[in-house]
C-alpha cells in the first residue's frame, strides 16, 4: 500500500542501510503511557483534595488545641465546678464589643483568701504586687479587619456556648469553632438555627425545650433580628 507507506512519516528507514531499526521504547512503555494519561486525572484530584482537607482542618484554624497560659487557669474548675457566672470575669461582654479579660484584682478577690500561697498562683500575686499585668495567650483571635461585637450577639440571644463550646469542660481553654467566615455567615444567614432565650445565653449545655427552629423563628421576631440580606452585608463585620 504505497499510500499509507508514503504517509508513514518514518521515512528514516529509506535512508538507513539496515532495514530493521532498533525500538526506542520497550513494550511496557505503552502501559506506562496509558497510566500517566488516566493517572493524571487522579493525581490532580488527590492534590486538590489534600489541599482542601488541610485548609479546612484544625491544623490551620487551630481549634481543639489547649493553649499554654502563664497561669494554668481552668474554666472547668471555675465555671463548671464552682459555677461562677461568665460575667463575673468577662464583665464587659454585655456592653462592649470586647468581652473583657479580668484584671488581676478580680482574681485576687477570692485568692486573697483561698489558695493564698499556692505556687500556681505566684504569677498572679506577682502581677498585683509589681503592678505588672499578666500576659495571657490569646485563644480566640479574629483577624484585625473583622469587627465582632460581643454585646450585640449576647443581647440578641446568641449563647456563649454557641461559639465557645462547653467552656465549663475545658481545663485549659481551647478554640471551639474554626471561625472561618463561612461559619459566621451560616448563623448570619439562618439565625433561627442557633438562637436561644436571653436568659439562657450564659447557660452551658442548654437544650432547646422544643424544636430549635420553631423557637428560633419565634426569637427572631421577638428580638427583632435583622433579615439575612442585611446581616450578610460586608459592612456588618468589615469596616
Amino acid at each position: 500500500m504505497p499510500n499509507s507507506n508514503f504517509f508513514t512519516p518514518s521515512i528514516g528507514r529509506c535512508y538507513s542501510k539496515n532495514q530493521t531499526m532498533p525500538q526506542i521504547f520497550k513494550r511496557p512503555t505503552n502501559a506506562i503511557s496509558r497510566l500517566t494519561i488516566f493517572g493524571g486525572v487522579f493525581v490532580v484530584a488527590a492534590v486538590a483534595w489534600g489541599w482542601a482537607s488541610v485548609v479546612y482542618s484544625p491544623f490551620v484554624s487551630g481549634e481543639w488545641t489547649p493553649f499554654d497560659q502563664p497561669v494554668p487557669f481552668s474554666h472547668e474548675h471555675h465555671a463548671g465546678g464552682i459555677g461562677i457566672d461568665c460575667r463575673y470575669c468577662h464583665t464587659t461582654v454585655e456592653v462592649s464589643p470586647f468581652a473583657g479579660i479580668p484584671p488581676t484584682a478580680t482574681c485576687m478577690n477570692c485568692h486573697k483568701q483561698i489558695w493564698r500561697d499556692s505556687d500556681m498562683l505566684e504569677p498572679v500575686r506577682a502581677s498585683l504586687s509589681e503592678n505588672r499585668p499578666i500576659r495571657w495567650n490569646r485563644v480566640n483571635n479574629l483577624p484585625d479587619f473583622v469587627y465582632f461585637d460581643h454585646s450585640i450577639h449576647v443581647s440578641k440571644g446568641v449563647g456563649c456556648e454557641t461559639c465557645h463550646g462547653r467552656v465549663d469542660m475545658m481545663p485549659l481553654t481551647w478554640k471551639h469553632s474554626d471561625m472561618h467566615m463561612q461559619w459566621c455567615l451560616e448563623c448570619h444567614r439562618h439565625p433561627e438555627h442557633y438562637l436561644r432565650p436571653r436568659d439562657q445565653v450564659f447557660t452551658m449545655g442548654w437544650k432547646p425545650p422544643m424544636d430549635q427552629d420553631t423557637l428560633g423563628r419565634r426569637l427572631v421576631t421577638e428580638y427583632h433580628i435583622e433579615p439575612a440580606f442585611k446581616l450578610t452585608n460586608c459592612s456588618i463585620c468589615h469596616r
Binding site: S4, F6, F7, P9, G12, Y15, S33, H180, Q182
Partner: protein
Amino acid sequence: MGDQNTVAVYTPPAERPYPGPHWITEKIGSLVLTPHTPIEWIVVFGAVFTGTLVLLFAIVWLLYSGIGIWGVNIPVAWGFAIVNFVWWIGIGHAGTLISAILLLLHQAWRQSINRFAEAMTLFAVTCAGLFPLIHLGRPWFFYWIAPYPNTMGLWPQWRSPLVWDMFAVGTYFTISLVFWYIGLIPDLATFRDRAKHRLTQVVYGMMAMGWRGSAYHWQQYEEAYLLLAGLATPLVVSVHTVVSFDFTIAIIPGWHSTIFPPYFVAGAIYSGFAMVLTLAIPLRKIYRLQEFITMRHLDNMAKLMLATGIIVTYSYIDEAFIAFYSGNPYERYEIVNRLFGLYGWMYWLLVATNLVIPQLMWSSRARKSVAAIFLVALSVDLGMWLERFVIVVVSLHRDFLPSAWNMYYATIWDWATLLGSIALFVTLFLLFFRFFPPISIFEMKKILHKPEVSARA
C-alpha cells in the same frame, strides 16, 4: 504542479526542480536535528534572554515594593500593564485564525506558515496572561477571581468583565496549545525516527505519543484536527470581544462604545498578521526558507493586513463620528482631547503608523519588496500598541470632573516590563525554532504530492 496552492506554498529555485518529499523532510528536519546552531540564533538568543532576565527583575521588584513603581495613579489607574495585555492578546490572534479559519476555508497556502503562527499565538498569549496577574495590587490573591469552594463562602462577582476575561483567555490558551500540539505529533514522530542520539530519540519519542502513522492514526488525527479547528474558530472572535468588554462595560467616555468588539477583533488580526510577518521575514532569511515561505505568502498576508487595517480605520472614523453625533458633551470632549489634547501627538503617530503607512500595501510593487512589507509590519506592531495606549490612558486621564484630571507618565519599570515581555516572547520563539519543526513537514509533503488532497483537507 501548476496548481496555485502548490505554487503558493513552494516555489523551487530556477536552477533545480522539486526534488520530492524526502528532500522536504531532509531540509526541515535538518534545521532541528543538527548539533550545529546558527550563529545568528545564538547572538539573538543571548540578547533576548538578557531581556527576559530584566523582565524577571522588574517583576520581582514589583512584587517586593508594590505597583507604585509604575506610573499609574488616580485617575489613570490602568497603565502600561493593561495596554500590553490587550496588545499581546491581539497579536495572539493570527495563529488561530490561520490554522483554524483558513483551514476551514481550504486556504492551502496557510500550511507553510500555520505551524509557527500557532506557536507565536501561544507565546503571545503567555506574555499577555502575565500582565493581568502582576498588575494586581495584591497579586498573591489572584485566584479569588476564580470560582472555587473556599472558607469564606464567597464566589466571584459574575457581572465583572475581568471574570469573563479569565475564562476567555484561559480557554483560548488551552485550545491553542492542544491544537498546536496535535498538529506537531506526526512531525515529532519523524524526528523520533530520524534522531541519531538516544536522548533525542526518547524525548521526541515521548512527545510523539507512539505515533506510527497507521491509516487508523491518520483517520483519528484528521477528525481531531478538524474538530479542534471548529472549536477554535469562534474563539478567534470571542476572545478579543470579551477583552473589549473590559472597556465597553465601563462608563468612561472613550471606553463605553458598542463598536469595540468588531473593532478589537479586526485590530487583533491586524496586529497578528503584522507580527507573523515581523517574525517570518527575518527567519525565512536566516534559515533559508524562501522556498517554503514564498513571496506569495508575504503577498497574501500583506493583503490581509491591508483589509483588516481598513476595518480599523473605519472604526476610528466611526468612533469620532458617533462621539459628535451622540451629543454627549463628555464623549465629545474625549475625542477632542484625544486628537488635540496633551497626548494628541500619540494619536497622530498612531494614525501615521496604523492607517497611513500600511496604505503602501495597495501597490503590488511594494508587496513584492520584502523590505517594504517588513517595515509596514513593524509600523503596524507599533501602531496597534499606540492604539491601546490611547484607548486606555488618554480616555482615563480626563473623564468627568475636571478637578480629578491628571497626567500619566510611564516609569522606567513600565518600560522594563514592556520590553522584557517582548524579549520573553522572542526567547520562547527562538527555542521553538530550535527544537520543533517550524514548518509542518507532513502537510508540505501531502500538499506537494497530491494537490487535490489539500482541497479535501
